[in-house]
Every structure is written in C-alpha cells, then in structure tokens.
Symmetry: C2
Subunit: 235 residues, 2 copies
C-alpha cells in the first residue's frame, strides 16, 4: 500500500442525470463491527498518496471505492476548516481507518455530471455500498460532506448557467423542451417556457437546425444543436 | 509564532487595474546573504497555520507580506504536483525558510481584482520588495507560480465573461467605451466595437440610463449602469 499524506485528501461529488432527476453518488461507510450500528453516508473520498498529484488521486479514489472510471472530474474547491473532522462519530470512524486519525486534513473536491446510465457503481474498499440519492433527499453526511455537496451543486448550477455545460447529456439534436427539462432538473425549479425560449434564442451557442423531431405525429418540435463559439467570434 | 502545517500553503494572485493596464502583485524574495544573487520573484504565499482555516490564512499571508488587507480574495484552485517545489533554487530558498523544507506542499490559491489606486503595497516578512508587474511581462517565478498565475488569469477572464465581475472597477455610471476598455485590458486583446456593443445590448444586466456623459463637448456618450438580475427574472 502506498504511503499516504496525512494532511491532504480528495472527495468526489458525482452527479447523475436520468432525464427526470438529478442524483448524487454516495457511499455507505463499511461496518465490520457492531459497535456503530447507524448507517453513515459519505461522498467517495480518501487521503492522497505521498507522491500522487491531486487529479490522479481523485480518479484513483473514485475507482477504488465505487469502481467508476473514465469520467471527467473537475476540481472545484478546497475545504480546510480545522474542525471539519472533529465530530465524535467522525473521529470514531477515522480511528478505525487511519494511521494518524487526529491529523488535520484539507480536502480538495471534484465534481462530475454524467448520465446515470453510463456507469454501474460497485462498492469496494471501505465503501460498504453505493447509492444514487436524489439531490433533494440528501441525508446527514459524514465529516463536512453536506457542505461540500452544497458547494458542488452551486458550482454545477453556475456552470450550467454560465459555462454551457450539460449539453453532452442531451441527444446531439435536441428540442428546446429537452433543454429546458435539463435546466429544471439541475436548477431544481420549474422555468417559464416563454422566458426560457427567449433566453436560448439569445444564446449564440444554441443553433436552430432545418429539421424537426421525427416519429412525432402531432406538432413535431424544431431541433437544435450545441455549437460553442470562440470568444473572438462573439465579441 | 504559530505552528504551521508543513503540507498546506496559500498563494495570492492580486490583479491590479489602472484603467490602462492589468498588473499582478509580485514579491521579491528577501536576500539576507550574498550566496544567491539573482532576484527571485514570487506570488505572495506561505504555509497555513496549524489551526487556521484557508480563507483566514490567505488574508493573513497577504497582509504579512504586502500589508494589503480588506480586499476580497476568492479561492480558485489547489495545486498539488508532487514536484512543484523541487527545482534546485526553490529547495535552496525553502531550506533557509522552513523547518521541514522537503515536505510536500499543496497550495490553495486565491485571486483578487482591484483598482491599483485602492491599495499601497509595502513589503515585509520574507518579502524584500513588492512590484506591480504588467501581465504581459511576468518574469520566471519561484516554484510553480507561473502555472498558478496562468490559471488565475484564465479564471479571471472566464469570470469577466460569464460572471459579470469587474463592474466595481468602473464608475457607477459608465459608457460602453469604458466597459470595452476594461474587457480589452483583462482579455489582452482589442475587441471589435460594433460586436462588443451588440453583445452588451443582449446583456440584461447592463442597463441604459436616460443620461449622457457630462463635461464632454462633442457627442457625449450614453451612460449605463450595472444591475445584476436574479436568475428567476431572466429565465
């Protein structure tokens, strides 16, 4: 086993979209004894190896705990509250698991947005189980993981709004209704159809096609494609 | 002196705007001996104290090295290449300064965009001097600080484009020429006037006023204000 840096960890917030809901991937902390009966949920995360870079650590840890690999992970924030691991139940867990359970750990967090159907999570290592949990039903998580989850969701919503992410979750040719549904699921609220369409018509990256939906009998909707413009083309 | 965590540091990239250029604040590493004659430039940064949170550390370190305080610092990225401090001249400097000079250090980086006229940097601690350096003339920096600077600049440009930052550097009522100048200075390139205006007219947050420039004899320009809309208002 590689030597670990006692002060630095990575955590992964994997958002899964299934066209109806947005979920996040949680692990159940494995319980090999009967002392601590309560199921504890956490984001997949662990210490960084002594000579491993942060991105590699994130991919390795996610794979070790959930078997998920080959998805894009984006670093979004480091969390370093000196008290972030000091709840009694957190200490108990760390004492079972770590060689320096009292060391202060700064965690560098990553997030990902994927189609749930693209992966099949499978728990291993100290993960006893994996769960896709609806973002509106997140339980109390270990450590400061609720805080990390909230910041990840905020970043995801910002990126959807400003950085045009999420199009890869839609078909290559999509309708504005499909695009609106994606926004509603990620933002967690209904949007006004007319305003949404007005806004997307101002968006130079959403390009109307000379083509309509197929296989729809009544009023097939127009199709669009996503075509990101270079900065120089729009300014 | 507080005990420091040997594995975690903060670095600050302070961008200063002077209406003509964009500069970044660098420190000269202090030289108390004559062995190493070459001036070495770096971003202001240092180890985090044992029980200090990351934001507090960033504000403290910036103040200790440059005397700058009360500016907004935003965390943007953590850098953790295991070899980031291993150049020969970096090791030499760390051996003079740190109790564990060979420890691996992950640095959490912050950036800020301010009006240069709002601050008066003054070097202290291990900073021998401070310099505002034009972003197009950045010298070779210590450690991986060129990489950190480049990522900060990229983030700043993204935020200008997508998150509507920078308006606080302009007068409350501004002309589109002033806004274009700000964009050109930050983006580092000339923009086409017509396209820029077209784009800003699509921007719901840039609101035209029923008012023109004063004290201008020939063709006073229209004034605008910045009024960020709530998500719900635009969607």
């Amino acid at each position: 086993m590689s030597q670990k840096n006692p002060n630095i960890s990575v955590d992964c917030v994997v958002f899964g979209f299934d066209f109806e809901n947005l979920n996040v991937l949680l692990i159940e902390q494995r319980q090999d004894d009967n002392i601590n009966q309560k199921t504890r949920f956490a984001l997949p995360g662990d210490l960084v190896n002594a000579d491993e870079d942060l991105d590699s650590a994130a991919y390795r840890v996610l794979k070790e705990l959930t078997s998920i690999e080959k998805i894009y992970l984006k670093q979004f924030h480091a969390f370093g509250d000196p008290k972030r691991l000091s709840k009694k139940e957190d200490k108990f867990w760390l004492q079972k698991l770590r060689t320096q359970p009292d060391a202060r750990v700064i965690t560098v967090s990553y997030f990902s947005l994927i189609k749930m159907s693209d992966v099949s999570p499978k728990a291993s290592s100290f993960a006893g189980n994996t769960h896709w949990v609806n973002i509106n039903q997140i339980p109390r998580l270990a450590f400061d993981h609720n805080k990390i989850f909230n910041k990840a969701l905020e970043t995801l919503r910002d990126d959807l709004e400003y950085k045009q992410i999420g199009f890869e979750l839609l078909p290559k040719k999509f309708t504005l209704s499909q695009l609106q549904k994606l926004h509603e699921v990620v933002l967690g609220s209904k949007l006004d159809k007319r305003n949404f369409r007005k806004k997307m018509k101002k968006n130079d990256n959403v390009v109307p096609l000379n083509e309509k939906q197929k296989g729809v009998l009544h009023k097939p909707a127009q199709l669009f494609k996503f075509e990101p413009k270079e900065e120089s083309e729009i300014e």
